[in-house]
Symmetry: D3
């Protein structure tokens, strides 16, 4: 089974780190093919960054149409380009935010999200609301840690995330922690040990759920609004991405 893992930002070290996290939980027969957009921001920390990331995800899934892809994982907590990707391939596509929310809901009556910049809290809240987890999620907590500080993450940074998680568990009366950034994937085991509650990394969860859907033979619905895009011309740099 071949899983296309799309890192929506253009940081090569982060692509590699996420790929490693994904591969470490993949089943024996699963290959992880990690890619990143040909353009866009080095990290995704605001709405402006995110629209380029979404287009970048769409680009990569579109370009993968010529390759054998069994499932797609979008490895940024805002799930950028999720709906677009589901139109661009019939393989199942999973965002790491939704995967994390689902996993946390299997394990607790209420979870909290710990994320990076405070300004991304609203993005998480929009997702929660859109997916229907506004009651299950008891709080979203920013740490104001820039995304790229998570590369080769220092103990000080881990301690800050741990502290935010402890505050979240206490204040929100929640039972599990969702890590609100793909870049936090490597910290999952450490935090889980220290906190004594389930700590969910969306990358791992998405990989396992993707494997689950593939093994059940389930693919994205081709009926309605996930049907392939209507054929049309694209212009400018995006010209090769249009549908015939």
């Amino acid at each position: 089974m071949n899983i296309l893992l799309v890192n929506p930002n253009t940081s090569m070290p982060m692509t590699r780190a996420i790929a490693q996290a994904a591969q470490s939980v993949a089943a024996p027969g699963t290959t992880i093919e990690a890619v990143q957009p040909s353009f866009g921001p080095l990290s995704i920390e605001c709405h402006f960054d995110e629209v380029f990331a979404a287009a970048g995800v769409a680009e990569q899934v579109r370009l993968a149409n010529s390759r054998a892809v069994d499932a797609v994982v979008i490895a940024c907590f805002g799930d950028p380009g999720l709906d677009a990707a589901r139109e661009a391939t019939a393989a199942p596509v999973i965002g790491i935010a939704e995967a994390a929310f689902y996993a946390a809901s299997f394990l607790s009556t209420g979870f909290s999200v710990v994320t990076t910049l405070n300004r991304t809290v609203v993005t998480a809240e929009h997702l929660l609301h859109r997916y229907g987890f506004e009651r299950r999620c008891k709080g979203v907590h920013g740490t104001d840690i820039p995304v790229l500080d998570l590369e080769g993450c220092s103990e000080a940074t881990v301690a800050r995330i741990e502290a935010a998680a402890r505050t979240a568990l206490e204040q929100d009366r929640s039972g599990a922690i969702v890590l609100g950034c793909a870049g936090m994937a490597p910290l999952c085991a450490t935090l889980s040990d220290r906190l004594g509650v389930p700590v969910i990394d969306g990358v791992s969860a998405a990989v396992k759920f993707a494997e689950s859907l593939v093994s059940l033979g389930l693919r994205t619905s081709q009926r309605g609004d996930y049907a392939p895009p209507p054929p049309k011309a694209f212009t400018g740099w995006a010209a090769p991405l249009g549908w015939k």
Copy 2:
């Protein structure tokens, strides 16, 4: 990996049929141990049936505490006893309704549920609302087929379910069908072929998601309201089930 599959009703043939459906999708190393309560209704078709089923699920999960269980699947579409089971074991517990809703949400922007007796529609609606899928699910459709008619299901019965599913797809403008009864598991492939959209059987989905959680080392939160039950005496036939 050992998955305890609890059929909440007391129909032995249905326990066997569900176990078979579960085993057929399980990973090579996964064992399915199928059990049913020591008491209660032969099928679950109303709220009265359901409270006995929920107690029966709690009984079976409690009794399994002395055995090695890696995960639990509750194989009735009302997810009876789900919260109780999550208190009674630290192994992850998955209900087939929530598993089906999650799988369908990965594959479509809107799904429909096709179920058995019309009177169970309200049960599905309560679950959808509680889990946060009230917007993602576009409709719940009863067929007034008694649950036990699904054993050794005739072509006429399949045709009725197929017809309800076609109506649902059309009326609800949805992209996937969720089968609203564990007893429909064996029909999943047939219906999927005929309908041309993803058809989700919660039993299979729950087994794969359970395997996913176990392989990630995730267990039910022991913090807050899924903590083990407070010690107390139980009386009557339930006396052996109390917590010390």
Copy 3:
């Protein structure tokens, strides 16, 4: 008029205390017949306890079918087995949580709930959400008082409940207090005097609302999902409870 008052736990002293609270507010012609399940937990403090209580309520209402019952009150704040009981008899059935929420809504634009163990807060929240009071209720406050400590309740315990109620009124900006446990019924007058706001005990409210419905000749709908359960065999200890 004969009201069947079901205490869903198996504590005989609590059954008696609740019966007394109920009888003290009943109209001259009303008889309170207090019963408890033949099995199950001594108190209801978690989801595991609750599924047995729900089955116990169903058992008692089912067994009362041979007697003249004009209305049923379920005297545990989680309203366990409410839907099942409504199928098992055509007499109106009222849960003390819903009765308390309704009474509080007649008297304030926002109320707070003060309850026992913190872990039961989530149960109250689920009920509020299911019944549609998620906006009217401004907060649910646990006191971590075990249910059985309410029997022969000490001044220290009363003081703790009073303190929690004061905090709730202040923090939640609410105008009334709902007592979140049938075992608190005897404290209602004291707390009301001390707090100077309406304090609602669900047992009393349920008894009066039950009398209201009976005197209006209103009975549970026999149409749709509160219709009598479909006939079917029950097995094990529950065998006598099946429907023909």
Copy 4:
């Protein structure tokens, strides 16, 4: 016990008919004092009518401050002036719409409302939403019968309401009917007989719930936004209604 029954419109025959319906269900010791505003519309069929009715309810409750009133019932399905009345007296105040919604919720998992002019449907929907019954109510059905046609109601009018109720039960899959106009109170028994489901008249329900609250010694919260109005001058015809 003295219940002030306020008919918010200025139709004397309707005030008398509602008073009769109220008295017929009142307990032996209960007196019904029926009043109507000194001004305003003969019937309430739109938002414009309703604002005058609300002021009229406030006027009547304010004027009753000098009399012994144990409870107030507002007898128009829009519950006009409900919040204002709760500030103007410490006696419990009940609107017939909320009373009807509560009663119907005790008896069915879903109810439908049958009302008068189609344009009043939106008013009922606003109330349902505000009170939290938007999920419990399965539909609101207009009949385009003018309110005053309900006085000395012809068989043709009854038949039209019955037909609308039958359609509602079928389409909405509901289990009970709420009558959406105080003027329908006298038809309640007839419709109940013909339809075979609980038919709820808000006037009767409100009277019984008012008696319930009074007998429990419960009064409107004097804390927060139901506290008595701040003292201030009123001008024009309303001058005598200001608070000192």
Copy 5:
């Protein structure tokens, strides 16, 4: 263009102050005609005050039917009589609360409301919920400043509002402030300077949105529940306001 500006209370100085605020933002060709009801409270600080204000708004819009009115603005933050006014004229009618919520939503992902008496918070919350801004508004903050203290507002009062706004921005993590009282209109510029975030005065916003609708030729829908009121007799002082 002639805009009828209705101050729903009967304080002449406040009518003048609001009129001035409105005129100062009006387009060159726009005339502001400021009126107030012929009766009712000097300020609107509770539900009781509000029902008279709503009737007063309906009175003034009704009386203006004989004059050329292009749009109506209701200048009290509770939007009293909004629906009634929309029936009473085909000219567009805008409430200052809805106008402020809309403006704030164009400028921030989340806003806070700062208002007068704490007891009016619930009124703002009901409006937010009814209009659909319950997620966009992050908090409503009372200052317990009486409305009439805003006339010739002292620096101490401004400082109190500023302090409440700073608390709101911090606690609610919001990006804009909505002033929750027409009487605060003259403070808008000062507060905006001091706070460094958009501060929205509903009076100005409503005037500009009213001008917008008029210039687009848009008028209130005459279909459905904003159609003109059905003809009927009104009695008492309201007799001249009935519809033929």
Copy 6:
């Protein structure tokens, strides 16, 4: 005043048509500067198209930073890139969908949306839900008219839209129609005449609301998640769009 009107697709004729519609309602001193992205789809009819359009909007607003822009209007009914644009400039930014929803809410208690391809219905539903209009909008109706068929729109196409609008008004019991595509702007007057209800074109509404905000001196909040994007490198074709 200079309004930047961004057509998110790359159809030059549509950019011109929308610009004309915008200019025709603009105030005397307002200049409309119409632009379109340098890349992307000729029309926006699915999620895949939309992510490129959103990036294109961000590109155009970013490039306009060096020019004097008083307000921005995003002229595609999905409001693509709205949040990103609000970060990229402090000038107020208005999407035509939100503008249309607001205008329709000023004029009716419920409106319906008539749009192009059926598959875009879900996009409108997501916006409605996110903005809080899920109760105010009574239905979204697809016509399966391709967006580019609206250029030089035939009478047959107009008739199809009119028919869909009539069905919507009837089925949804709504009072106004929102046109669900910028390309329908030129049809607004015709449809309004034929239907006899307010017909809202988002382009005109957005222009007037933008003028309103500018004339009130209101600008996008620079606090919280609409603050300017954090400085960072962008790669590939997007390199010039990064923030220093």
